[in-house]
């Protein structure tokens, strides 16, 4: 992934990590996050 993709992915993946009500994304949510930053294809399937 490119650096802009890593940053966009990190903001969506880790942006709420320190929040009191944090929970890990579900598999469906993770797929949606990956796709939203252009990470698609077999490699990113869960």
């Amino acid at each position: 992934m490119t650096i802009p993709q890593a940053w966009n992915l990190s903001r969506k993946w880790y942006g709420n990590r320190l929040d009191r009500d944090f929970r890990r994304p579900t598999a469906d949510e993770a797929r949606a996050i990956f796709a939203s930053v252009g990470l698609t294809g077999v490699f990113w399937e869960l």
Partner: protein, 144 residues
């Protein structure tokens, strides 16, 4: 009581404050909780892939995007921390909602890679290679 949320918050607070991971006893003392319940919460958080323990122990190696183990990815955002991987190096400014300077090393050449986040925008040249498909990240999270 499920203390996982409080325990998670205490773990991250300790890492942010000191750069080192707390023990279950230290967390139990900090949040005034039963030590066995905190130890169980450590195991539950690890099972949920929220933290990574050293094998066979309750010692935290990673509370992603932070690593208390030295890595080739050092992130300065006020204080400095290590990140487990290149993706997580950007996770630190994302979690802290701060700009950051990332001192990274190419896994292949060892060459220094200057990158980071300035004014909320990522900078730096390079491509991050992941070795294992997403479905298998947690087969061995130290090898991705």
């Amino acid at each position: 009581m499920d203390p996982s949320g409080e325990v998670r918050a205490a773990i991250y607070a300790a890492i942010l404050d000191s750069g080192r991971a707390p023990t279950p006893a230290e967390v139990a003392s900090a949040i005034v909780a039963d030590a066995d319940a905190v130890a169980a919460a450590f195991r539950a958080l690890a099972a949920a892939h929220v933290i990574v323990l050293r094998p066979g122990t309750l010692e935290i190696a990673w509370a992603p995007p932070f690593s208390v183990v030295a890595t080739p990815f050092r992130v300065t955002a006020g204080s400095s921390w290590h990140a487990p991987c290149a993706w997580d190096a950007f996770g630190i400014p994302a979690a802290l909602k701060r700009d950051a300077v990332i001192d990274a090393r190419c896994a292949w050449s060892g060459e220094r890679i200057d990158c980071g986040v300035r004014g909320g925008v990522a900078y730096g040249a390079g491509v991050i290679h992941l070795l294992v498909p997403a479905a298998h990240f947690w087969d061995d999270i130290a090898y991705t």
